[in-house]
Amino acid sequence: MSDFPHTPPRYSATFTPAVNAEIRRAAASGIYDIRGGGTKRHLPHFDDLLFLGASISRYPLEGYREKCATDVWLGTRFAKKPIHLDIPVTIAGMSFGALSGPAKEALGRGASEAGTSTTTGDGGMTEEERGHSRTLVYQYLPSRYGMNPDDLRRADAIEVVVGQGAKPGGGGMLLGQKISDRVAMMRNLPKGIDQRSACRHPDWTGPDDLEIKIMELREITDWEKPIYVKVGGARPYYDTALAVKAGADVVVLDGMQGGTAATQDVFIEHVGMPILACIPLAVKALQDLGMHRKVQLIVSGGIRTGADVAKAMALGADAVAIGTAALIALGDNDPKLEAEYQKLQTTADAYDDWHEGKDPAGITTQDPELFKRFDPVLGGRRLKNYLKVMTLEAQTIARACGKNHLHNLEPEDLCSLTIEAAAMAGVPLAGTSWIPGRNAGY
């Protein structure tokens, strides 16, 4: 035995305990990790941006006296009946199947009370959400589960889904344990089997076909409905430009923080770009085409607060969409249910096994015993409150920047705390006039 001290144990930065645990899990189970939600890695995000506020060179609006409007029109390019929302925070598409019927009802109730829209998902339109949603966007997905012309016509807008931020380039998956009789019937599939949703649409490929597909949908609905095109954050400049070329009224852009009901963890964490990097490229595409504000841009993926809303809009978005945040507002991942999360070998605020259908909050499940726990009236009220708070927060910031409408926020109102975020968002690093990648020479 030497008297010298031992080298203390040192963990590898490459083979961390978490990495090693995943290797062991894969070796034992033989299947990749599937989970719900969006990326959990640290990313440059809206938190890395700050508003500058008013000063001598520009003056603010009086908080409780001078109006700061929040409404937004969507679908003004071609649709005979564009949508008018009171607030620019919409509810993103989430499927019946992934969510329970009462959860869909609550989303409709909360969104309608707050004056905004909700969106169907990969599973067709339910009476719960149509009945309780003043404005309902009907998703047109590769699987076409539940697709029919009657629902197309009773929707307020149609969203052609090309991709989503959690898995740009990936299809959907609803594992057998969530396929109840009703879900199976709506999707024309046997009960209890894994339901794979294709990643490509069955009857069109590429932007030229998409243009014809959009024209067909407009013909079927007599050119009344706004048609959105939703893309994941992959190549936002080109995807936005091609969606505009194909005839979209609205482009929906979902960054990699956007959630999913069930996808491989490796996909969620390693494919796509953060929403912060996506927005300026999409806005530039719209500006280059002379279509900014004519084709509206809705962005999503990690929107949590009114500050996030204001920042997204300052970068050029017309509106935002929330999914994960809406579920949390309904009661998902609540620490009050910690004892039940522990039984599932997880903890509140980290629960992401939405695909297993065992959600103690009764939201991401098809188990009647579990979803009985969820009160859609209360859930709707909570969502309405949250949407109102986000709107008030965004207005507070906009007034401080001297803006009488959220749409008047602009990149000049922002600075960045980090070089990375400055480069992605295209706003100067705080205390400098440096936008990395833009004004070379600094």
Partner: protein, 229 residues
């Protein structure tokens, strides 16, 4: 017979007119002339009317059709009768890709050949093809019946669910999880009825067909089947 000149009056006017027929109408017979390959002809019709298109059509003719009987006196472009709900669509010539894609009901008859992905993701529609079908036909087909009097291309019925496929000629290859299945009396009876409805009963007999369907091995994920994906 109501006659509509597509070249003179345009697609929007045509579809608006056809959509206004919902419910009961005594204008039950329509003829569309000068289609010239236009897209979305008679898309979204929801009335028990008979429509004859004199010529060939572009993409998505009869898309999401309900109730109507639509005859195309020519060939059809991609996605003919896509997501059809009910009614009948009969094509005298050939059909391009994705014929009857995601169709949920009704009958699609193609008297010539159909290209690739015929019946892709079909969900209850019946399709009768007098000629051949291209590769990847009935991909992820969920339910309904696909009858082919000629040959099938590569990867027939890849990843299919509960759709029934009947092919009289050769099958170049079967897709993942698609296998030949026993032809039982109930299938022969079904086939006889489909051939009759598909205006093919004089051309082929049920006994001449083979039946294909899902092996159901990919219904729940198993790592040992990963090579099949």
């Amino acid at each position: 017979m109501q006659k509509f000149d597509l070249a003179a009056d345009g697609l929007r006017q045509l579809n608006a007119t056809l959509h206004s027929l919902k419910g009961k109408t005594n204008m039950t017979a329509w003829e569309i002339v000068n289609p010239k390959g236009a897209h979305a002809i008679a898309a979204g019709v929801d009335a028990p009317v008979e429509i004859t298109v004199r010529g060939s059509t572009g993409y998505y003719c009869a898309g999401m059709n309900k109730q109507a009987t639509i005859r195309i006196k020519g060939s059809a472009g991609p996605g003919v009768a896509e997501n059809m709900m009910s009614g009948t669509v009969i094509i005298d010539g050939n059909a391009s890709q994705y014929a009857g894609a995601t169709g949920r009901g009704g009958l699609l008859v193609i008297k010539g050949n159909a290209s690739s992905r015929c019946g892709v993701s079909m969900k209850g529609i019946d399709i009768v093809v007098h000629g051949n079908i291209g590769h990847m036909s009935a991909f992820m087909a969920q339910s309904g019946n696909l009858v082919v009097l000629g040959d099938a291309g590569d990867a027939l019925g890849d990843s299919l669910y509960e759709a029934r496929l009947f092919v009289r000629g050769s099958v170049k290859s079967l897709g993942a999880d698609c296998i030949e299945k026993e032809m039982r009396p109930e299938h022969l009876a079904l086939l006889a009825e489909l051939l009759k409805r598909g205006e093919a009963d004089g051309k082929a007999k049920p006994e001449e067909f083979k039946r294909y369907g899902s092996a159901r091995k990919l219904y729940n994920f198993n790592i040992d089947n990963a090579a099949a994906y």
